[in-house]
């Protein structure tokens, strides 16, 4: 029994219907407040720079060695273009749409308008999460389309299967990034704080910890989300999927540093766990947080 009858003639919708209502108006807000278009423009600028640079200079770094096989050249292209940039686009999507999604409700006092209604906080959280995820997915699809468009121009209709896999992993990674941004958004009451912490974490802290842990302590950084997300680029490696453990000799003293690459199932597990844990923790925080 999900619906609640009230006078006069009002029937409070089911929680699922209220999720859809929240999504609809959050989405409208994204468009009206221009944040969707700003991220779209940033994505188009990144794509335009890549298109112009590759089109004008035709660098081997992107188009591969002309003597190599067609498949190797295609993989080189998608690895360099997509593998190097998509995670950045995903992180921007998380920050733009998720960074202040919950903290803004406290800081801007919009929560005082929506929460004191017959709607569960979980419906608000899930509605906002889904609208942020869909908005970021649209940007993601546009970036993927431009990538494929360029790929078709240089290599014809031979899109490697690995690109499809990478696309899917990247979309899962987007879900995990959105989970983390919503978690921090629920943790803080200040929008700028939640956005800043998320940005610093994804752009610096995760990669720093990953490098330090792997090279200095020789421990596999399986607990870092960006390590798991390495599968997005690794699957496109033209020389085959990289080794799991890769010791690299440094200097003449026999010193080696070790780099690690997550296996695909391992990477998916890391991404999945981050998504599940942060989504649950974020929701629990929002459920308990007081509007004071």
């Amino acid at each position: 029994m999900n619906k609640t009858q009230t006078a006069p003639g009002n029937v409070v919708p089911s929680s699922m219907a209220q999720v859809v209502i929240t999504m609809k108006y959050t989405f409208l807000d994204y468009f009206r407040s221009r944040r969707f278009f700003i991220l779209l423009i940033i994505t188009l600028i990144i794509s335009a720079i890549l298109t112009i640079l590759v089109g004008y200079y035709r660098p081997q770094y992107f188009l591969g060695d002309p003597t190599a096989s067609a498949n190797t050249r295609e993989l080189t292209f998608y690895s360099r273009w997509w593998g190097n940039s998509v995670t950045f686009v995903i992180i921007l999507g998380g920050i733009f749409f998720g960074g202040d999604a919950i903290s803004g409700e406290f800081q801007n006092k919009t929560g005082y308008f929506g929460v004191p209604n017959p709607i569960r906080r979980s419906s608000i959280y899930i509605g906002k999460w889904l609208s942020a995820f869909i908005a970021a997915t649209i940007i993601f699809v546009i970036f993927a389309t431009i990538t494929v468009g360029n790929g078709l121009y240089y290599f014809g209709a031979n899109v490697p299967i690995q690109f499809g896999q990478s696309l899917l992993y990247a979309w899962f990674y987007l879900a995990a990034v959105m989970g983390v941004t919503f978690f921090f958004s629920s943790l803080f009451k200040s929008s700028s704080m939640s956005i800043l912490v998320t940005a610093i974490l994804f752009l610096f802290v995760f990669s720093l910890i990953e490098t330090l842990v792997a090279t200095l302590v020789n421990v596999e950084p399986w607990f870092i989300l960006t390590y798991g997300a390495g599968i997005i680029g690794n699957i496109l490696d033209p020389s085959g999927y990289p080794k799991h453990i890769n010791p690299i000799p440094v200097g003449r003293g026999g010193l080696t540093i070790t780099t690690y690459n997550a296996f695909v199932p391992e990477g998916l597990a890391i991404i999945g766990l981050y998504f599940i844990i942060t989504a649950i923790l974020g929701l629990m925080l929002f459920e308990r947080k007081e509007f004071t």
């Binding site: 619906k3 609640t4 009858q5 009230t6 006078a7 006069p8 003639g9 009002n10 029937v11 409070v12 919708p13 929680s15 209220q18 209502i21 929240t22 108006y25 409208l28 807000d29 009206r32 407040s33 801007n108 006092k109 919009t110 929560g111 005082y112 308008f113 929506g114 929460v115 004191p116 209604n117 017959p118 709607i119 569960r120 906080r121 308990r288 007081e290 509007f291 004071t292």
Partner: protein
């Protein structure tokens, strides 16, 4: 607490017997609320913001536009219904928030510090709207630290000190009980007045319970009786040739009662 914004440290918040925290959707289905000064997404128009609430509250689709227009008309914002909320003043936003509380035609209205943070004009507008809502058979539950506002708008008052209910009664009963069983008027004078004259002459007028000089040009008279007594005291004061320039019921009556009550409970 009654709207799920904060949680009780102990006990429960029940509305019509339904626990707000365990069954929020049912508990708040027939409750409209305005908690302090909420913000609405500034990129939406007033109509869109209200439509969101109408949909969440399950107002029948066919009636939504009509209800929104009625609620907006009730808060006198018809001309602004399709304008973006980002362009509104605080008072205008507050009126739209009152409209959102009225949309589902609730039996109960919860208003928490509804004029908080507004300029004098905004405060007055909000108070007028609340007074007009009183005539529409709704239970209005308002909390405020501005006791003059409470005496102007409310019929009954509950006073809480350190989380404990210390009194709940009609405003006349509360003021009568704690102000020595009388009404209070404040008298403004053209010339300074002697404290001895106030104590000897004014305090002994028929019906006067007490008279005190607040400062050299203002006195405060507590009296028993109705409007007729109040008029008689005024004419006595005028006949004393003390230069009465103003004569009005004390607005701080409830505040004085509250302060006395707090002193008694300390």
């Amino acid at each position: 607490m009654f709207t799920d914004l904060i949680r009780p440290s102990s006990g429960q918040a029940l509305i019509n017997g339904v626990n707000v925290h365990t069954n929020k959707k049912r508990a708040l289905a027939s409750v409209g609320s305005l908690i302090e000064t909420p913000e609405i997404y500034s990129s939406l128009t007033a109509r869109e913001g209200l439509m969101m609430i109408a949909e969440i509250r399950g107002v029948p689709r066919a009636e939504r536009n009509k209800r929104i227009e009625e609620a907006v008309s009730e808060v006198r914002m018809e001309e602004w219904i399709d304008k973006r909320i980002g362009k509104f003043s605080k008072g205008m936003k507050q009126r739209i928030c009152i409209a959102s509380a009225l949309l589902s035609q609730p039996d109960i209205l919860l208003l928490d510090e509804p004029s908080n943070g507004l300029d004098p004009r905004g405060m007055s507008e909000v108070r007028d709207i609340i007074k007009s809502l009183k005539n529409k058979k709704r239970l209005i539950f308002m909390s405020s630290h501005i006791l003059s506002e409470v005496s102007e708008v409310c019929d009954e008052v509950a006073m809480i000190d350190h989380g404990k209910l210390i009194v709940y009664d009609t405003i006349p009963n509360v003021t009568a009980k704690f102000m020595g069983g009388g009404n209070v008027v404040e008298v403004g004078l053209q010339h300074p007045i002697d404290a001895g004259f106030v104590a000897k002459s004014i305090a002994h007028l028929p019906g006067v319970v007490a008279a005190e000089r607040k400062d050299e040009r203002n006195i405060r008279i507590t009296f028993k009786g109705d409007l007729e007594s109040q008029a008689r005291i005024l004419s006595e004061l005028v006949s004393m040739n003390i230069g009465v320039v103003s004569y009005k019921p004390a607005t701080s009556e409830l505040e004085d009662a509250y302060l006395k009550l707090i002193k008694e409970t300390v």
